[in-house]
């Protein structure tokens, strides 16, 4: 390699490495703000903002979905498999909302520690399989 080309190559490597380091530090310091939602444990530990809208993510606890009255109001519990938070929502739920499914709700905590959601989004997981495979998986789990 000719010296001038070597120089340019080193310059480019240094530039990319420098920008990479700078962006790395920037992202590290903004880490908290880049989280799209708080977990239920964060909320119970008081990390979530009080009196302000924030997003809460977690799995819908099996058997916790209740519809008091015949309106659109739904009560359910969210969990991150260590702590649970009760959620109340009035509105139409997305297709993928079901028990055991991950969701992200936008809203705020009321005085009783119940999360009043204004919007509920379903968080799809990364698993894709035919219904028959799911059924046989379920059978295996139940058999154990």
């Amino acid at each position: 390699m000719k010296p001038i080309r070597r120089q340019r190559l080193i310059l480019i490597i240094l530039m990319v490495a420098g920008i990479g380091t700078a962006v790395g530090f920037a992202l590290k310091s903004f880490n908290e703000n880049l989280m799209y939602f708080f977990s239920t444990t964060d909320v119970l530990a008081g990390k979530a903002p009080k009196d302000a809208l924030f997003r809460l993510g977690g799995m819908v606890v099996k058997g916790s979905v209740q519809r008091p009255g015949d309106g659109l109001t739904v009560h359910f519990k969210l969990t991150d498999f260590s702590k649970e938070v009760a959620v109340e929502y009035t509105g139409i739920l997305p297709d993928l909302f079901r028990e055991g499914q991950g969701i992200v709700a936008n809203g705020k905590l009321d005085g009783r520690g119940v999360f009043i959601a204004e919007e509920v989004l379903a968080k799809h997981d990364e698993n894709y399989m035919p219904p028959e495979v799911k059924a046989s998986l379920k059978k295996q789990v139940e058999g154990k």
């Binding site: 390699m1 080309r5 070597r6 340019r8 190559l9 480019i12 530039m15 990319v16 920008i19 990479g20 962006v23 992202l27 880490n31 880049l34 989280m35 799209y36 939602f37 977990s39 993510g57 739920l93 997305p94 297709d95 993928l96 909302f97 992200v104 919007e119 509920v120 989004l121 379903a122 968080k123 799809h124 997981d125 990364e126 698993n127 894709y128 399989m129 035919p130 219904p131 028959e132 495979v133 799911k134 059924a135």
Partner: protein
């Protein structure tokens, strides 16, 4: 002798000779198109007809056969563009500069397709067209990077200067590529985690995975075809006063 051995450099210089490249790609093109069409037909038939519906999403998951390969291509093409740009900067190879700028619009299109198909799927599945989570935002930044590259190239009249400026912009933007890929692991996002591109076994049933991979390879061939056609055109334009172009015109090969 340092970093890149001389014989490799010489090989690239010979490959990058415009008349040689123009003749070679002309011969390759029908083959590339044939392979692309076969792969696309197999992938679409497998994905839309043979693959079973998903246990949760039913048939609407089938959008992954467009969305996922497009998103992969948006990252792959960006890396190709930045690499070609770097080669152009270091060795001043005209062809590498042209490959870089010819990749930009193809990459921008794939990024756009990934964003639109994701949005169309997001409305029924998530319950929203768009959220500002780390994955979606960083992919949108990628689209703006592509558009910036295209805009910058067209803003500078001298195409050799334009190519240098574009290569530097592309190299600066490379930092966004790992951010897009790892965003779903580093931060909590509404977008799901990786299904195929992870160390673990893919969490997708094999009957659904095979058409997805076929589509991914088909899209790679599409990129090659579109990029090479654009490169040939740009090459002719830049070399319009060169002898090999004049000769070809006189022999009525054009």
């Amino acid at each position: 002798m340092f970093l890149i051995p001389d014989p490799v450099g010489r090989f690239f210089h010979r490959m990058a000779s415009p008349p040689h490249f123009y003749a070679l790609t002309e011969k390759l093109m029908p083959w590339l198109v044939a392979i692309f069409l076969i792969l696309l037909a197999c992938g679409l038939y497998g994905g839309l007809y043979l693959a079973p519906p998903d246990y949760q999403q039913g048939d609407s998951y089938r959008i992954i056969y467009i969305h996922v390969p497009s998103a992969w291509m948006s990252l792959f093409i960006y890396v190709m563009m930045a690499l070609a740009g770097a080669i152009g900067l270091i060795w001043r190879i005209k062809l590498a500069e042209i490959v870089a700028i010819s990749s930009a619009s193809v990459g921008a299109s794939f990024t756009f397709i990934a964003l639109v198909t994701g949005s169309l799927w997001g409305k029924p599945m998530w319950g929203t067209w768009w959220v500002w989570d780390a994955r979606l935002t960083s992919e949108l930044v990628l689209l703006f990077l592509y558009l910036g590259v295209i805009g910058l190239y067209n803003a500078i009249d001298d195409k050799r200067t334009a190519s240098k400026a574009v290569a530097i912009l592309a190299l600066v933007g490379v930092v966004n590529i790992p951010i897009i890929h790892y965003s779903v692991e580093w931060w909590s996002t509404l977008h799901q985690g990786p299904t195929v591109t992870k160390m673990d076994k893919p969490s997708i049933h094999v009957s659904m995975l095979v058409p997805l991979l076929l589509m991914a390879v088909a899209f790679k061939f599409y990129y090659l075809i579109a990029m090479l056609q654009r490169t040939r055109l740009e090459l002719l334009q830049r070399e319009r006063t060169a002898n090999w172009v004049k000769k070809m015109v006189l022999e009525q090969k054009l």
